[in-house]
Each structure stands twice: as structure tokens, then as C-alpha cells.
Assembly symmetry: C2
Amino acid sequence: MTPIALDRLITLISKLPGIGKKSASRIVYHILDGESTYARILAEELTALHQSIFRCGICGGFTETDPCPICSDPNRDHSVICVIERAQDLRIIEESREFNGVFHVLGGLIAPLEGISPGNLAIGTLLARLGGPACRDRVREIILALNPTVEGDTTALYLQKILKDFPVEVTRLASGLPVGGDLEYTDRLTISRSFRGRVKV
Amino acid sequence: MTPIALDRLITLISKLPGIGKKSASRIVYHILDGESTYARILAEELTALHQSIFRCGICGGFTETDPCPICSDPNRDHSVICVIERAQDLRIIEESREFNGVFHVLGGLIAPLEGISPGNLAIGTLLARLGGPACRDRVREIILALNPTVEGDTTALYLQKILKDFPVEVTRLASGLPVGGDLEYTDRLTISRSFRGRVKV
């Protein structure tokens, strides 16, 4: 017999990705053991989340202003569009500080078994950006930053085919050994890809 | 560049136990991708948490009523008190459906290096319960359900010594091989304990 409010919160939290019943319980007791200020602020931020954050009309990333800071930044290279699966991929790429172009969120990958066809993805809006008024410069390169998975490969192939008719270069992120990785613990496919994509040193 | 509200929520959530920056980010994007109803309900439950849940005046467990449902349940055996470290241990023991007595939350374990001495624990209130008015029946057994760690052992020894002057039996949970465990992957100490605590079959 545990308080019902506790159980309700544990059930809610265990629905989050990567959190099971045990972790949820640990989290709730941690919040309960701690200052009530933390729970209050967390609740406020959660309430504000959907109110203050929406999707950018151009790239589809999460933003507090429309267009988003990246799409409206004159210092970014608007002639290079990096195509990503989900809005959260943007954060990871931004943190690498390797890319200074703009983004386009597909909103998923082609996965026929899960019923996701090209029609479900933001491909039409991507094509509209090629020379459309939303892009300041003529787009010269599209970088497909899709996961090296079956779905990622399928989507990349599809986009490659579609984009062939446009005067734009299409590239894809290199696939190979992760930095700090170990050949011994690398799977066969990754090794074969890193061979095919080997570079001159 | 990601929305500031997102970063604030990710920082908040990454303070929870077992959740790093990456998981926090995954969780926040999951909430953002989903229905706003979920975030609203989660926020409401978090706000209500500290208001509706407090500690039972008798056992120290979390409760919505004082005394808690267990302490006020006439069908439980009030002559057996199970001593636990933290309020969350109560849930795990209740789920085993093995115990029908009442509980006592110590609020920690003796750990001199961390500055936790017996004076910081709810030991005085435990002694007051032995025959005090809060317990319906005379207490005949105290089960120490403390972790089989150095701190748990120290605390168990201390309580054993203190309780020697009271007409009460003191027991401790058996320590040994976990069910479904494998000898090969069991540490030396656990094996030695399971030998010492071996039972006739």
C-alpha cells in the first residue's frame, strides 16, 4: 500500500523513453525526498513547454520564434541544407560545431513495415526550399545526415533519386568506425563500410 | 542553438537520479513530440506531490493520511516491526506480499564517513514504539530489513546492541544467492554468506 498520488506519478514517468517502473519509482522518491521547489519549477517548465515551443515554419525544428534562430541567422550558409530525421538530431549536430548551414527536419524515415511512406515525410517542403523564397541563397548542397540503418539508407536512396532532377549536390555523412572505437568490437557491416569509404592520408 | 526553454527543462531533468544529459534530452524531446496533455498532467501531479504526500507520524513512510494506511490497518500484525532504511524500501517489501506487519523508516544508515551517526536516524522513535501507545499490540519481533552492505551491517549491529535491553526478538533478512542468480557470477562475500546461512532441505 503506497499513496495513490505516488503511484499515479510513477506510472506517468515510467511512460518516458528509457525509464522503467523501477527508475520511475526511484525518481519520484528522489523528488519527494528533496525540496518542493524543484518539483514546482519542474512542473512550471513542463507546463510552459508546449506553449512556448513550436516548429519552425521553414526547417521544422523546435523553436521559440518563427522562423527559428538558425533559419533567420544571416551568418549561416543558407546554400547548404542538412536533412535530418528528427528535430533532436539538430542539437547533436550543432554541438559538434562542424556545420554552419541550415537544417531540414524530415519528421521520420521511410519504413514501409511501420506504414511510413515518403508521403508522411516533409519532402515536399524540402523540394520547395530548393530555390524557393525561404532560402536566401540558391541551395548548392544537400547533406543527408540520416542514421546508417536500413530505414536511413532507404530514405537516403529515395531522396537521392528525387533530387537528381535538381541542380544540387547531394552528399551523405560518412559511415565508419566511431572515434575511440575498437575494431574488435565493431560489427561486420561497419567495418565493410569503413573499408569502402576509406580515405587517403 | 536550441530553444532556451528546452535547455532549462533538460538541465532540470538531468538532475534526477540515473538520468544523464543524453537521457534528459531524449525525454524532453519525447514530451515535446507527444500530446501537450501528457506534459500538463505530469506538471499537475508534480505540483500536487509535496502538497498531498507527507510522512506518517508513526512509521515515517510516505502517506496521504496520518497515520498511514498500514499503521492504521487493524488486519496487519502490529507486533512485528520491519525496520527499513528509506521510505521507498516499503514499496518493494509490500510488493513481495511476504510481510504483514508494520514498518519503521530509519531515514538512512550509520555512515561515519558521510557524517551520519545514530543520532541522525529515527532510532528514538523506534524505541518509543516498543510498547508505546502507537503500537496496538506489544512488539514481539523487529525485522531488520537493511541492505547487506557495510553501512547496513553497521546499523544492524548497532540496533541489535540497543535492542538487547528490550524484550523483543531481533532478526535480519537472510543474505545469500539471489533467485535466478548464477554461482559463477556471484561475488565471494555473497557466496560465503549463503554458506553460513545455509538451510536444511
